[in-house]
């Protein structure tokens, strides 16, 4: 029986350790968001559901990724990008849902999703089709294209439509929440390129000798911060706003 198989985590394998803790943390966060959904005002239920979906999808992928990693010792690149292809656009949906009350249009959501697709597809080509031994030109080219998608989302969150809508929302909780999410995009999402540059041919791999095992280490840390943290910010906005509505 598969369930009785014993997986051995080497004591000094930080990557395997973060795969396991990442899996449990994502699962716990999903359960938390699902249950807490019942405690917030109706208008916030969808946002919390999306937060729960993000962490749940990640938890399922982490379940497979930890096994893949322990069995092969390789980076589970395909599984990783399947996870991101689903969860990152959902994070963009969160921006739309938060600013919807202030007049956000569906086009905003699609623009953000489009940028996230550029970011992910370019990142995937850069990583998955990196020639054996690494090719700097390949990783640089796709890394730059991916960065353009990231910069677009960063701009939208800090100065563009999302920021403008949050500013005009007259809701201090939403303003604060959107700003916190923008911080996640600025700092939290910036951890991913560090992992990307650790792959063979990547700049950190070549000049600092950071091995490709660090790719997953950085990705796991970034995922835990961004997915769970992102959800907690949405949860905090939802509960604060619900309390204000209740008091009014």
């Amino acid at each position: 029986m598969n369930l009785l198989d014993i997986l051995i985590i080497p004591k000094d394998d930080a990557v395997a350790f973060t795969f396991f803790t990442g899996y449990m943390a994502m699962l716990a966060a999903s359960i938390f968001f699902f249950f807490e959904r019942g405690r917030v005002a109706d208008k916030w239920k969808l946002s919390l559901l999306v937060s729960a979906l993000i962490t749940f999808i990640a938890a399922v992928h982490y379940y497979y990724m930890r096994d893949y990693y322990l069995a092969t010792g390789e980076n589970p690149t395909a599984l990783r990008y399947i996870d991101w292809t689903l969860t990152v656009p959902l994070m963009c949906v969160e921006f739309y849902l938060l600013t919807k009350a202030a007049g956000a249009k569906l086009s905003l959501m699609w623009k953000l999703i489009g940028a996230s697709v550029v970011m992910l597809v370019a990142g995937y080509i850069g990583e998955a089709f990196n020639p054996k031994g690494g090719d700097t030109a390949h990783s640089v080219m796709w890394g730059v294209i991916s960065t353009i998608g990231y910069i677009y989302i960063l701009y939208t969150a800090w100065f563009g439509e999302v920021a403008r809508l949050a500013e005009s929302s007259n809701n201090a909780v939403v303003k604060r929440g959107v700003r916190t999410l923008a911080w996640f995009v600025l700092v939290g999402w910036a951890i991913y390129p560090i992992g990307y540059m650790c792959m063979p041919g990547g700049w950190l791999n070549m000049s600092l000798g950071w091995g490709s095992e660090n790719v997953d280490l950085f990705y796991n840390i970034a995922d835990a911060i961004n997915k769970i943290g992102f959800g907690l910010v949405v949860y905090s906005i939802a509960t604060s706003s619900s309390k204000e509505d209740h008091a009014a």
């Binding site: 890394g143 730059v144 100065f159 700003r179 600025l186 540059m197």
Partner: protein, 306 residues
Amino acid sequence: MTKAIFFFIACLLLLLPFVFTLEGNSFSAQLIITTPFLLFLGIPHGAIDNLLYLRNNNINNIQFIGAYLVFIGLNVALWFTIPCMAYVLFLLLSAYHFGQSQFSHYLQNQAISFQALYFLWGVSILSALIYLNIDDVYIIMDQHEEFAAFKSLHQKNVLRFLFFGSTASSLLLMIYHGFKNHIKWESILMETVVITLILVCFYLMPILIGFSLYFVILHSYKVLKEEYNFLLSEKEINSVKNFFLLITPFTLFSIFGITFLFALIHFNILQISYGYCLLIAISSITLPHVFVMNKFYRLFGRNQNT
């Protein structure tokens, strides 16, 4: 986050993957890459000093330009008599000026704790620029005999002390202003991110490219934007085109001036190296500019507060 910070982050992220190709560039190659940006974005931010200074002052344009030229003349004389002092003066004034413009959008305050923050922030980034690129600096100094006099000023342990001391002090001062409610904690976090990115930029990029990235975007672009907003609020201009027309004459004048000096060197009339000449020219423009900007920021701060 200001737009200048955003552009800096975007440019840094887009340039980082190319660090490999930038690394091997000689100083001359770096000059070729950065000169257009320094000339067309760096110089213009000081090209309307006269307009800024003449506001609320009882002197006319000719008197101002005369005083400006006297400052420049005195500075050039100092470079040829006591170069070390001229060099240190240039660095100290630049440090204060960089710090002042970095924090200008939060609050312009003449209190000593703010002035100390401006100065220490500037010392932090200038010492970082030299300390993190010390080998390049030594190469430049070895290549040009005029720079040899400054070698004693660039001892590694002194620079390390200056860098760590000023960085820690400026961070502590920011925290102090946070507790005093002068600056929001979010802004302190942003400034910490910014100084970290500047240090990363200086560490990874070749010296001139790293500095230009900071100077052109975080400093010059930001100051140009503040000058534009100020003149707009004072109804001195009503469009970007007006502003462009205002900054053009002295920008061109400065560019022609530097070109003229380079021509003198080329034809052996002036016998100093291009790099040394450029350093004197930049410091001579900087010296009066720092005083004008100090006054401008008082006006700018008053405008922001009203």
